[in-house]
Symmetry: C2
Subunit: 448 residues, 2 copies
């Protein structure tokens, strides 16, 4: 019976030394890891051996102000993904690219190329780049407002989709005899003329194995949820409790339906940072050890980044001052709201808040045995809070190895996770359809 | 004695089915090649086995108007290079990226990442994107004028260099005990405020094995030569005769010296499209067969692209009409001049001009035996016309295999080419120094 249960989807979110901000201070961390392709190859291969649907790389277009104590510098994620494509065979490759600081022709082309190189395993996590530090690296005097960034993102995605659809699947004829390489009635200029972009097209990459990459979104603000409901095929989200998870899940699936889309065509994957040990007390001890390695100055800087408030003049072991309303924030609104809720509900000191955020930056941290972690995942999955999970190992590679070797087999025993990949493509493993080529309004031949 | 001769440098210029525009019509061409990573892996490994210094991928940001008969669509080159980095160990990886349609932060970051992933084998062929078709894919109502494009390229490269230099080699401290990840006095904001760009920096990639990628330039216009003399470390060029090669070589080396640079620090690599067969008559027959596979409509379109003139109403076997002066051209000026010279000197018909350009698009095509090809290369190398060559196989993989298996051993016997790689980095194999970190005017710490 267990083999017929609905299966969950698992993504691993790779981040240099791991998701806990003090992971790099563990004795097993390696100074070279963050720029070492062999290290990332090893991580990808561990995840693939465990049959993860996909791996995911986040991105920030600046070092921020935290370089003294923070380890989030290293390889540009898209460049890294392309390298990982040739040392893996099945695992999906999801890269973060900003619609605010790029051109749609370049990005549509890069994802089409990655989809070819990986044989249909590309995914795009669409972000709008919320920080002033990023804007300052891109000649932007004024950082584009939150709502405008989403407006640009919509048009960006519209252009990208038209470009991916600008080649019919059978456009390449390759008729040596007649000298016809492509049927130019099947390679169509898009003539996009919008508010942000004017793009003639067509793309210079033939249509790809997946048609286009799996579209992923991680914004949980109102703008973000509306965008995700309309376009996303997978959603990474941060929810702390089962109830919040259920509410978010129901909310987004309802919004998806309102756009006339099948709610099953969007996979919701809450983040979890699992701290795994043979016994619960060892797991908690491991969590405490990691928390105690955090550098308060780093946590204070992170808090200032998200909230806009400098807490460094307040006592670390005292309460937080009052926070401004979320409407005044032009950064990551949903992350800000989550922090405000945490503070309100749990009456935390500044240090406790720093510890709370150190593991998952607002994502749920759970310390326990492999069976307890599996119980948690099963509960959320069975009780309408998720279609799977975005697994964020607190340290790497150990935290991923623990999950792969101890939690995945437990999920498989319960019939909740695949024993073998179902498909060669990311769409296939996520149970998503290959998009039909929908955009061919101009039946204009290219040769004029 | 032969082992002590000065050695030439060899780059292979990979282009889907090969450089002859009819290569895809050969019976051994494969329709899938242009998007098949296994195919490009095979090409890279053939070149690496033969000890080529580097492989190079060109780029055009549009399909142009030639998709019906032309095969130049496929993978985005930078994405492809990153994949090739992990299936090769020694060969340099030179990618073309436009300074006109990108942001310097993104590109500096990508090349730094590729340099890490490849362990010091990245090279950047800097182009300014000369065609209106490209501009139409990037929301440009008016295509930037030739001189303005070079002005932007200079500032782009200035920003990129500052970003690469924004990390000192020893900036990462990784002191687990004290919690200091990086010495923030060695990670410096660049505060670039120029005409085209405002970039605060620093880069979010630590300094790379080569410091920065080998800088390559291929423009041979006045603007292009001036830019190359000031910045380039390797130059790809198209010269038809030994005399032209010598003149270009002397001209550029002289300009390099005027910038206070050592002329040896710039490697000049003329292109050659070698058509190789056991006897000279077989080689000429092979060339003729390829030429006869060209589609006149394709050649006419290419000519129109470069010259701005539609020759299709003139008889193919008649003479060319008069060409406008080069000053009226806003595209590839040097390619245009080369065509004008060919027409003036050789009194060609339109069909003969199409054949002449079909193999190397203005680069020198030479049909002969392996010994004859080696003789040609030796002559140019010894007589002051080159530091090596940009090898452009007419068809792939066969044309590259012939060069690797027949011409390279002949060059090695003559002591003109390496038997083993001298270095693990592209700079090392090209005999170029690792740049010192020159740009640290603001000794401003990052944490404020």
């Amino acid at each position: 019976m267990s083999q017929t249960r609905k299966k969950m989807h698992l993504n691993v979110f790779l981040l240099n030394h791991g998701h806990h901000e003090a992971a790099w201070r563990r004795t097993d961390a390696n100074p070279q890891s963050s720029t070492d392709i062999r290290y990332f190859t090893r991580l990808a291969q561990i995840a693939e051996k465990a049959k993860f649907d996909s791996l995911f790389l986040a991105d920030v277009l600046s070092v921020g102000k935290n370089i003294r104590h923070g380890s989030h510098v290293g390889l540009e994620p898209f460049t890294l993904l392309s390298a990982l494509a040739v040392v893996t065979e099945h695992i999906g490759l999801i890269g973060t690219v900003s619609t605010t600081f790029n051109e749609p022709f370049n990005i549509a082309r890069k994802f089409a190329s990655l989809d070819h190189i990986s044989n249909g395993r590309a995914g795009w996590n669409i972000v709008t780049s919320g920080s002033e530090f990023e804007a300052a690296n891109f000649s932007n005097n004024e950082h584009l407002q939150h709502a405008k960034r989403y407006e640009r993102a919509r048009e960006f995605l519209d252009v990208a989709t038209k470009l991916w659809d600008s080649w019919q699947d059978d456009a390449i004829v390759f008729d040596r005899e007649s000298g016809i390489f492509a049927d130019d009635s099947k390679v169509i200029a898009i003539h996009h003329a919008g508010h942000y972009f004017h793009v003639t097209g067509p793309l210079n990459v033939p249509r790809t194995p997946q048609g286009y990459p799996v579209l992923v979104q991680a914004g949980s603000s109102e703008d973000g949820k509306a965008f995700a409901a309309q376009y996303a095929e997978a959603i990474f989200t941060a929810q702390q409790t089962l109830l919040e998870g259920q509410q978010f899940y129901a909310d987004v699936k309802g919004r998806v339906a309102k756009f006339g889309r099948n709610p099953d065509s969007v996979k919701i994957l809450p983040g979890i940072c699992p701290i795994i040990a043979p016994t619960e007390s060892e797991a908690r001890e491991k969590e405490q050890e990691l928390n105690e390695l955090t550098v308060p100055a780093y946590g204070l800087n992170q808090l200032r980044w998200v909230t806009g408030i400098d807490f460094s003049s307040y006592p670390l072991d005292g309460p937080l001052p009052e926070l401004p309303p979320v409407t005044e924030i032009n950064g990551n609104k949903s992350r800000y709201q989550l922090i405000a809720d945490l503070v309100a509900n749990e009456n935390l000191t500044i240090r406790q808040l720093i510890y709370k955020l150190a593991g998952g930056r607002g994502h749920r941290v759970f310390a326990g045995t492999p069976v307890q972690v599996a119980d948690q995942l099963e509960e959320w999955f069975e009780q309408g809070a998720s279609d799977g999970f975005n697994v964020m190992p607190p340290y790497l590679p150990g935290g991923l190895e623990d999950f792969a070797e101890l939690v995945v087999p437990e999920l498989q025993r319960r019939g909740l996770f695949r024993l073998e990949y179902e498909s060669r493509t990311l769409r296939g493993n996520y149970g998503l359809a290959r998009p039909t080529n929908g955009w061919t309004p101009h039946k204009e031949a290219l040769t004029t």
